[in-house]
Symmetry: C2
Subunit: 210 residues, 2 copies
DNA sequence: AATTTCATCCATCAAATGATGGAATCAATC
DNA sequence: GATTGATTCCATCATTTGATGGATGAAATT
């Protein structure tokens, strides 16, 4: 069995992949209920029937988008883990912030999709939830917040979530926040990175009992 | 001219206020496109016509919900400012975290509505945006991140946004995060408060040049 | 060349949705 | 008691939306 992402990689210009890409973009902008199958079909330049032919009903397509998204995020986390393996915690955080920011700002719909899937009650993919729980525990152990991957205290997971949310939010909210900060795209990215480092590093890099 | 909130305060059981409340709850759960006028009417136990009679078209009602939300948030911020006036920064943060968490967990749809209004492209209320920009600057000055309310550097505003987002996110994502952390409602609130203090206080409470 | 499979589009359906006109009800005012 | 104005519901409309059947053509297979 191959995931949606794998199929898209195998043939990135295939109709199925093109539909997935358009769906991803639009669902990321307007959420599940804010997108019609006609919007997606129009974006690709095809008939609705072709869309249904490849992906079945709308909800299946949405779930494929979420699976795809999840695969992408997981890939990034693995990449980060390789990059920072063995480094001290403050460096780990710095690299993680850099890489995740670059990834999310390069794929603006990713962060939005994450938020939509987390907060709106159009929640349907409990399979992905389980995966995220596993990532959380892995990161908590990697950050030295827990020793046993199987028994991570909620405090540790909550701290990882706090880091995660901070990064996601600035990426997803760019169209809202950037005008407020009166910055251009690159300036916004730079300020966000700096802010995240300012906020996150002191909390984790401080010595427990100075 | 009186705001939706004021009218609701004047007669909290009036039909208009009851509709507003139901709309707030549902829009907070499913977002603008995820809610139908029929859903709202059913929640209140009335006919759709009655809803249209009081609030006009769906979008007007949604904007009223956002205005109402905004008024509530502003009220809380003013309340916090009074509570912590003159206190040192670490205490200010601690109190702000406590009060905002209590408020948002007591009004679960508020945080969701904030996120929906910030991230989905159903954006229509630029009036509120201007208000939020003003809050940001006020808070930045109150936190000692800037001296002149009229000239707050983007870095300072970004730091305030980071704090703001952290709080909002844990509240909005409760239904998603809490199962992951395997906590009950109260336990979740406690862990969130602790986590926010752990993350946020060190960044701002540290001395600039030790 | 004939046949089968795959991909796409056109036409259309049934349900859902936002919205409205008009009748009925009720309370306040004259 | 009659009149007026406000409020609510019923019936209904026009659009939008998700979805499908079937025709058409292209490509592969025989």
């Amino acid at each position: 069995m191959s995931t949606a992402l794998e199929k898209a990689r195998q043939a990135p210009d295939s109709m199925k992949a093109r539909i997935l890409e358009a769906a991803r973009k639009l669902f990321g902008e307007y959420g599940f209920h804010g997108v019609t199958t006609r919007m997606i079909a129009k974006e690709v330049g095809i008939d609705i029937s072709t869309l249904h032919y490849h992906w079945g009903e709308k909800q299946e397509l949405y779930e494929a988008v979420l699976t795809d998204l999840n695969d992408g995020i997981r890939g990034k986390l693995v990449e980060i883990e390789h990059l920072v393996h063995g480094k001290p915690l403050s460096v780990r955080l710095e690299v993680a912030i850099e890489v995740m920011c670059d990834h999310l700002f390069g794929n603006p719909e990713s962060a939005n999709l994450m938020l939509f899937s987390q907060f709106s009650k159009t929640r349907l993919t409990s399979e992905i939830d389980a995966q995220i729980t596993r990532y959380l525990s892995n990161i908590a152990v990697a950050m030295g917040l827990a020793v046993d991957k199987a028994h991570v205290p909620p405090q540790a997971n909550a701290r990882v979530l706090a880091v995660w949310n901070s990064v996601i939010n600035f990426a997803a909210g760019e169209s809202f926040f950037r005008p407020m900060l009166k910055l251009d795209s690159q300036g916004y990215i730079d300020v966000v990175k700096e802010t995240l480092k300012f906020i996150l590093i002191p909390a984790f890099a401080q010595k427990p009992h100075p």
